[in-house]
């Protein structure tokens, strides 16, 4: 051993550690479920196209990243994909292995049918399982899962490991004591762990040597091991993400890789008969990742499916609708696709209503402390760092009271959970649960009272208030012609007993509801100090304009209005607004009920309080387009709740700073959402959260399925599938922006990471002109004029 390791050269060392780093960065982060946001599961693959990513992920995870051939064949048969779509998609492909013509492409779809699923290259554990008959991969899942559940636990278990220990050191201490592998037949595993190096880097290196992993094979071999740990790798990647956002770094990814490699090393020693097959596997890993003909055909078919949707969308956008005079009510919604339904409904109620779309955090980078809470909630897109500290503490005495209540509830919870006292708890409280069961079964839930109005900790100067107010209004393209009432609406889901609750909340608010941001902004914009300074900053707000905050409940379409110090004389106006909102809610509910299985317009509210409901609402399922344009371009069109709508008027955008912001922030966030739905739909076994019926919440951070050890990140199957068919049609987002072509290209040039998304086909880009689609983006910073299309085509 000693002789061999002394021969490890610095070049070898850096090659292996670089491969480890690359493999770690190929894993998407998974945000814990208390405040989860959608993440692009292909975040590490945006530098390559879909076909190549398919080849890579097929190799390292055995998953498909497109739909099955049969699904495309069905879409071709029923016309969702037509001959033009196929021809255009084929023409856009530059892959050497692409089918010769659309006939071959159609045939490929039929022939691929339901199979074959790609097979991942085996791990040593897989090979050893075949050789010895013991299910080593399952055992590893279980052993690593049990350890990781404790290591990353945030308060589920009363007895968790010592806090603050690094993962690798903690695991070594654990694995040296854990007898399970030895009982399963892996003799000497504890000693093997004890003898392993005590730093993860050296452990990786030693294991790579023992396993004969060559420099060229290392990246996908390591990627394979990360993928085999499922959500745990993604959780570790999240730790890294958070650390890097704060300018720091985190070593948990390296730790996990070392842990998994030590297992591989031990299994190779346990089952030496697999050495030959393992060497062949290493050789396969060393081959460059290149898509085969099947992957290329499927990627082209996916492109054709995207184009089929674009064809219908382009036809719907047939020029700007005339906009009226100064509206009475201007309602600003989050760009979230669920708002589209409600905005359309609200505008249909009265001519004096206009709506606008903007990211639901309204540009306020808040770190918020809720009433009676020490937790710092980052209520902003996860790409950004918070800059403003806010609190809803309100009256200090009440805040203290809330803390005491929470602490005695916590003490009671520990009483319920702890050894010995749990018996006393059951004897004393058990019978009371009969009443609780009835209440929960019938859906009686106490209505949560709104928290006190949020405020900035330490207050703001008049200068800062006016600066912030003006910046937000400019970003919203809301510099003139304000309505008498400007409604600022955050949004949040309304679900019961659902571990994925935060996935239904506002992604732009970091997986919380948009309540705090909306209320804070309304208070700020009504503040006389703010208003006094706006004109000097180029924003004209009429004196009679009143800003009102609200929260749109996306499950029931009810809107809560927050009367944070609103003037009494405007009560009549507010009553009128409330009436409109109630009418719009009815229209929106009727539209949503059609998609929800077993729902009727008048029973939707029951879904919110039903503790057994696994499909309370569809969330963002179906999302397929992002349109940044004046509302006139989309007003009156039924976009089916499938489009992110961002209000943007390029004529008012001096220097195109807002355009740059839109392309680099909301577009990227929308791409994460659309690709998360895509990934959870096409590769549910790896990028989906699993089956809700057997979810087992672990550590307060995520779910596992049943008794399995692997953390499951992504959306649950029931969030994208209605039982019979996919509720989310997996499409890549079509981004449409009304702005000068060259300005858009300029932004892409300055942001190569964003450009990658378009150049490699993870997003489609179109430019609009006067509300019509004018040109399609082609990889390489080019535009193709789109021929005028009609519905008749």
């Amino acid at each position: 051993m000693f002789m061999k390791h002394s021969q490890i050269t610095p070049v070898r060392l850096s090659a292996i550690l670089e491969a480890a780093e690359a493999a770690a960065r190929a894993i998407p982060p998974a945000f814990p479920l208390d405040a989860t946001v959608a993440v692009n599961p292909f975040l590490g693959q945006t530098g390559e196209d879909l076909a190549t990513a398919a080849a890579r992920l097929g190799r390292v995870a055995g998953i498909r990243v497109t739909r099955k051939g049969a699904d495309y064949a069905a879409a071709i048969r029923d016309g969702r994909i037509n001959e033009d779509d196929l021809a255009d998609a084929l023409a856009a492909s530059i892959a050497p292995l692409r089918p010769a013509d659309t006939t071959h492409l159609r045939r490929a779809a039929e022939q691929l049918g339901d199979g074959p699923a790609p097979a991942a290259l085996p791990t040593v554990a897989d090979l050893a399982a075949q050789a010895t008959g013991i299910d080593w991969p399952a055992l590893i899942d279980k052993c690593i899962g049990l350890w990781a559940a404790g290591q990353f636990d945030r308060g589920q278990a009363l007895w968790s490991p010592a806090p603050g220990s690094e993962a690798f050191a903690a695991w070594r201490a654990w694995a040296m004591h854990d007898l399970t592998p030895e009982i399963a037949g892996l003799k000497g595993f504890c000693a093997h762990v004890a003898a392993a190096p005590d730093t993860p880097e050296r452990a990786i290196l030693f294991a790579a040597e023992a396993l004969g992993i060559t420099d060229a094979a290392a990246e996908t071999a390591f990627h394979r091991l990360f993928m085999s740990m499922g959500g745990w790798s993604q959780h570790a990647r999240w730790l890294l993400w958070q650390a890097e956002l704060a300018g720091d770094t985190d070593r948990t990814m390296v730790d996990l890789l070392a842990i998994r490699l030590i297992w591989e090393e031990a299994l190779l020693a346990h089952a030496p008969e697999v050495a030959e097959r393992w060497a062949a596997t290493v050789a396969a890993h060393a081959e460059p990742v290149a898509p085969g003909a099947d992957e290329v055909a499927l990627a082209i078919l996916q492109d054709a499916a995207d184009r089929g949707h674009q064809r219908r969308l382009v036809a719907a956008l047939d020029g700007e609708a005339p906009s009226g005079d100064r509206p009475f009510l201007q309602a600003a919604f989050c760009i979230d696709v669920r708002s589209e339904v409600f905005r359309r409904a609200l505008e249909s109620i009265d001519d004096s209503i206009a709506t606008i779309g903007f990211a639901g955090f309204f540009g306020l980078p808040l770190a918020h402390h809720a009433h009676g809470s020490d937790i710092r909630e980052a209520r902003l897109p996860v790409l950004l760092n918070p800059a403003v500290e806010t609190t809803s503490a309100g009256d200090p005495a009440r805040d203290q009271q809330a803390r005491i209540t929470a602490r005695s509830a916590r003490a009671w919870g520990r009483f319920r959970q702890a050894a010995v006292s749990s018996f006393a708890f059951v004897e004393a409280m058990g019978p009371v649960y009969a009443a609780k069961l009835v209440k929960s079964a019938l859906g009686f839930a106490p209505k949560a009272k709104p928290e006190p109005a949020p405020e900035v900790i330490g207050g703001m100067s008049a200068e800062a208030k006016a600066d912030t107010g003006a910046a937000v209004l400019k970003a919203m393209s809301l510099t003139m012609a304000h309505g008498e009432i400007v409604l600022l609406l955050g949004h949040g889901g309304n679900v019961t007993n659902n571990p994925h609750e935060s996935a239904y909340h506002c992604g732009a608010c970091g997986g919380y509801t948009g309540e705090v941001s909306a209320r804070l902004l309304a208070i700020l914009l009504n503040d006389p100090e703010t208003r006094a300074g706006l004109a000097a900053r180029g924003v004209e707000v009429p004196a009679d304009t009143l800003f009102v905050a609200g929260l749109h409940d996306t499950t029931t379409d009810r809107v809560t209005i927050y009367e944070d110090g609103l003037p009494g004389p405007r009560a009549g106006d507010l009553a009128r607004v409330r009436e409109w909102l109630a009418q719009a809610a009815k229209v929106a509910r009727a539209e949503r009920a059609v998609r929800l299985p077993g729902a009727r317009w008048n029973t939707i509210h029951q879904r919110a309080s039903n503790w057994a409901e696994i499909r309370p609402e569809w969330g963002l399922a179906g999302c397929a387009a992002f349109i940044a344009a004046p509302r006139a371009a989309t007003a009156g069109r039924d976009l089916g709740g499938r489009a992110f709508l961002h209000s943007y008027d390029w004529r008012a955008d001096e220097g195109f700073g807002t355009l740059e912001l839109i392309i680099t922030a909301p577009v990227v966030v929308a791409s994460w959402i659309s690709l998360q739905y895509f990934g959870s739909s096409v590769a549910p076994e790896m990028f989906g959260g699993g089956n809700k019926l057997i979810h087992n919440v672990v550590g307060g951070i995520g779910v596992i399925e049943g008794n399995g050890g692997r953390l499951r990140a992504g959306l649950p199957w029931q969030a994208v599938h209605d039982g019979a068919v996919l509720a989310h049609e997996p499409l890549r987002l079509s981004v449409m922006i009304e702005a000068p072509r060259e300005e858009i290209l300029g932004v892409l040039e300055r942001h190569p990471g964003v450009r990658d998304l378009f150049d490699n086909g993870w997003l489609h880009l179109f430019v609009l002109k006067d509300g019509k689609v004018d040109a399609r983006y082609r990889p390489g910073l080019e535009w193709t004029d789109t021929a005028p299309q009609t519905l008749a085509a």
């Binding site: 208390d34 945030r154 201490a173 020490d374 058990g430 087992n696």
Partner: protein, 521 residues
């Protein structure tokens, strides 16, 4: 009312039409079936409740068929109808839950059917008048529950869990069959009402003692007692309502078996001592393992193991009414805990909101134990004055429970706990103490007259009592001081072994091939 039989006898039958309906529509979105299955579960609950009312008003005759070793029948007394009502209630809640929860599943209709049949079998079990009836019912529960555990048949974890469950469960059935054989050979009857009288008349004898031992073994297997508890920690492979029904209804069958056979079991001192030892150890073992579990359903499963152990301990002490109360209380709590386990994310987030937990020091913990014992003395004295003296066993059990309450007091006595918190936890502690003494008094009033009273402790039992109180007290004390030692490096190994359930499940896996590749891999 002069019905010739108890309404609760009809409860299992009320489920059959919907179960037949399910057999015809086993697939996805089976029309009105989910509504029918909830409605029939509610009807079964109502009928069971009707039986409870009937038995509360006066004695009700049982029904029976056949004679001798094949004698089957149902009985109606306050125990059987109370348990049937409990099962009926849980059944209704669970079927109502399933109505929404299973929507869109490929085998939605089959699920309802299997659940209803399982529920019917448990209802029969709860009211069985003879051993053969018990055996038939529990065997049927095993059959359908195994199918439910394989609701996702392709999951290797589900296959392993179902296999393990089936082996342990059927081993329990075999034990029951042995018991039936032995008891019949000795006493010539398998009527649960007649057996105790026969045993009292002639003594248990060797065959009778073995028969009782077999009953105790069956109960231990079916309540997932140490060391064959492993099956219960893996059965969250089936949809949540199955877990709720299992942990709140089916798992009680061991306890119901013992309580039904109470007079018989109590006539064997050895059986009682065995129950105290198995139950007491399982209770502490399960509770300790639960502390280390980070997955909510797994932690709840360990909690059930421990609570069922505690129930066996109560049986072993001859506190039959308290054991029955524990069954009822635990079922209601555990059904709610499983069905609402999706809230765990919110709950864990809520734990961290009000800031760090105040850690009590050693003096504070000692003070809390003294305070709790004082509360116990006062309340026990008050209840004794009002409702008559308590047996040594009941007092010992009270002491054990009060150690638990001390933990609540201790949290409020931590140096850094604000006064308002101290007051609140003290009030909660008092409420908890009054709560369980009240429930116990009520239970005693309802079931005391028909269940045997705790025997005068023998020397062996005194010794067991002292050991039990001491060990529960020690664990409670350690628990209260937990934050002071749990993260010490010296205990790291202990935590690993406990988190793995002392490897008993792994050893069982090894013995039955649970580590091997399953068919679908």
């Amino acid at each position: 009312m002069s019905l010739a039989f108890a309404l609760s006898f009809l409860a299992p039958l009320a489920l059959m039409p919907a179960a037949l309906f399910a057999a015809l529509r086993p697939g996805q979105r089976p029309g009105s079936l989910p509504r029918w299955s909830e409605a029939s579960a509610f009807a079964a609950f109502a009928l069971a409740l009707g039986g409870l009312v009937q038995t509360a008003l006066g004695p009700v005759a049982g029904v029976g068929l056949l004679e001798g070793a094949a004698q089957i029948g149902l009985r109606a007394d306050l125990v059987s109808t109370a348990v049937a009502s409990l099962v009926g209630f849980i059944g209704w809640i669970v079927m109502r839950y399933s109505r929404t929860y299973l929507d869109g599943e490929a085998r939605e209709g089959a699920f309802h059917g299997l659940m209803l049949v399982t529920l019917a079998a448990v209802l029969v079990f709860a009211q069985a008048a003879t051993l053969p009836t018990l055996i038939i019912a529990t065997f049927a529960v095993g059959l359908t529950l195994r199918k439910l555990l394989l609701f996702y048949p392709d999951r290797p974890e589900a296959q392993r869990a179902a296999t393990k469950f089936a082996r342990v469960w059927y081993a329990g059935d075999v034990m029951l069959a042995c018991a039936a054989g032995l008891l019949f050979s000795k006493f010539g009857t398998l009527d649960l009402g007649a057996l105790p009288a026969a045993a009292a008349a002639s003594g248990l004898g060797f065959a009778g003692t073995l028969g009782v031992a077999a009953i105790v073994a069956a109960a231990a297997l079916k309540t997932a007692a140490f060391p064959l508890h492993g099956w219960l920690t893996e059965v969250m492979e089936a949809p949540t309502p199955v877990s709720a029904l299992l942990h709140a209804g089916i798992i009680n069958s061991g306890g119901v078996l013992l309580i039904t056979a109470a007079p018989l079991v109590q006539s064997s001192t050895g059986a009682m001592a065995a129950l105290v030892m198995i139950g007491g150890f399982t209770a502490l073992f399960g509770a300790a393992v639960m502390l280390t579990q980070s997955a909510i359903k797994t932690a709840l499963a360990w909690s059930t193991i421990s609570q069922m152990g505690f129930m066996l301990l109560q049986c072993g002490l001859g506190l039959w009414t308290l054991a029955l109360l524990h069954i009822v209380a635990h079922s209601l709590y555990k059904a709610h805990a499983f069905l609402s386990s999706g809230n765990a994310v919110t709950e864990v987030a809520g734990i961290r909101r009000p800031g760090p937990v105040a850690v009590p020091s050693v003096p504070a913990v000692l003070k809390s134990f003294a305070l709790a014992l004082a509360i116990f003395a006062v309340i026990a004295a008050a209840f004794t004055a009002a409702f008559g003296p308590k047996s040594p066993q009941a007092l010992a059990l009270g002491a054990i429970l009060i150690f638990g309450v001390a933990y609540l007091v201790a949290q409020g006595l931590a140096d850094r706990a604000p006064v308002a918190l101290t007051k609140r936890t003290a009030a909660s502690a008092l409420a908890a103490a009054v709560g369980y003494f009240s429930f116990q008094t009520i239970a005693q009033a309802i079931w005391g007259p028909i269940l045997p009273a705790a025997p005068m402790p023998t020397e062996l039992e005194w010794a067991l009592l002292v050991v039990a109180v001491a060990s529960f007290g020690l664990v409670a004390f350690a628990q209260a001081l937990f934050p002071l030692w749990a993260h010490h490096p010296a205990t790291a190994g202990l935590r690993v072994h406990l988190a793995n359930g002392l490897y008993l499940n792994a050893l069982l896996d090894r013995a039955i091939g649970g580590f091997r590749i399953t068919g679908s891999r």
